[in-house]
Symmetry: C2
Subunit: 143 residues, 2 copies
């Protein structure tokens, strides 16, 4: 049941001193319930019914608020627009080159790569990102 997740997220925000407006609630709910990784515009369109007067800026503003609270991650791939992902546990993404579908997958952290990079470059390493690209089962079937 995802309402537990939503409540947890909201408690989290409240503790951080963030006001829970109806719009914020709806955006968060949509992010958690849609198991996908929607763009700002997709969220905007999905909530058009409930909030006919909501502005795109509100979506962007609140996604930034959620990001700053550590609840949401922004996924940026080269082309087109950012996608937003509710942070639950650490995971990587595999992306279909053909249809764009994004699927989560888990893998133990690449600590080894980070520490090698650190010693070779002299950087102080904080984090890394990785994505894998390929063709999803659906698209494989369709040739």
């Amino acid at each position: 049941m995802s309402s537990a997740k939503i409540n947890a997220a909201i408690d989290n925000l409240k503790e951080a001193g963030v006001r829970i407006t109806p719009q914020r609630h709806a955006i968060l709910e949509h992010l958690i319930q849609s198991m996908s990784h929607p763009t700002a515009d997709e969220i905007y369109k999905a909530l058009e019914g409930k909030f006919p007067n909501m502005s795109v800026a509100t979506v962007y503003n609140n996604l930034r608020v959620f990001k700053e609270a550590g609840l949401v991650k922004e996924l940026t791939y080269g082309d087109s627009s950012s996608r937003f992902d509710c942070v639950t546990t650490d995971h990587y993404h595999i992306i279909c080159d053909s249809c764009g579908k994004i699927v989560d997958f888990h893998y133990p952290g690449l600590d080894e790569v980070e520490s090698l990079a650190e010693s070779v470059t002299g950087f102080e390493v904080g984090r890394h990102r990785m994505e894998i690209y390929g063709v999803c089962p659906d698209c494989k079937r369709k040739h």
Copy 2:
């Protein structure tokens, strides 16, 4: 000596049936000689002196041509604009969170991650990308 690299790249393009115009030569030369990973606009500005009438579109067009020929890779990080990297050997990048500097570093391919992802998700995996983020030595010193 980088003129050897330039000539090799040009031969490569010629074989692929790409005309070598003065602009293309200059863009390629700049990409190879500047050891950095310039944006399209940086290239445009760097060549302003030699080609006062060159249009930004020419830079973008030709970067696409080079990409299609496999000579250049486009690096897309979330914010701001794409950076372009001359393909020599496979390598990853480590990026400074503070000043944005990009440094190459080598690491054996992450075949294991790819094959795990393949078996877990059912995707047919083609490639992956990875970047590491941290603070570079210069910025560490400056606190």
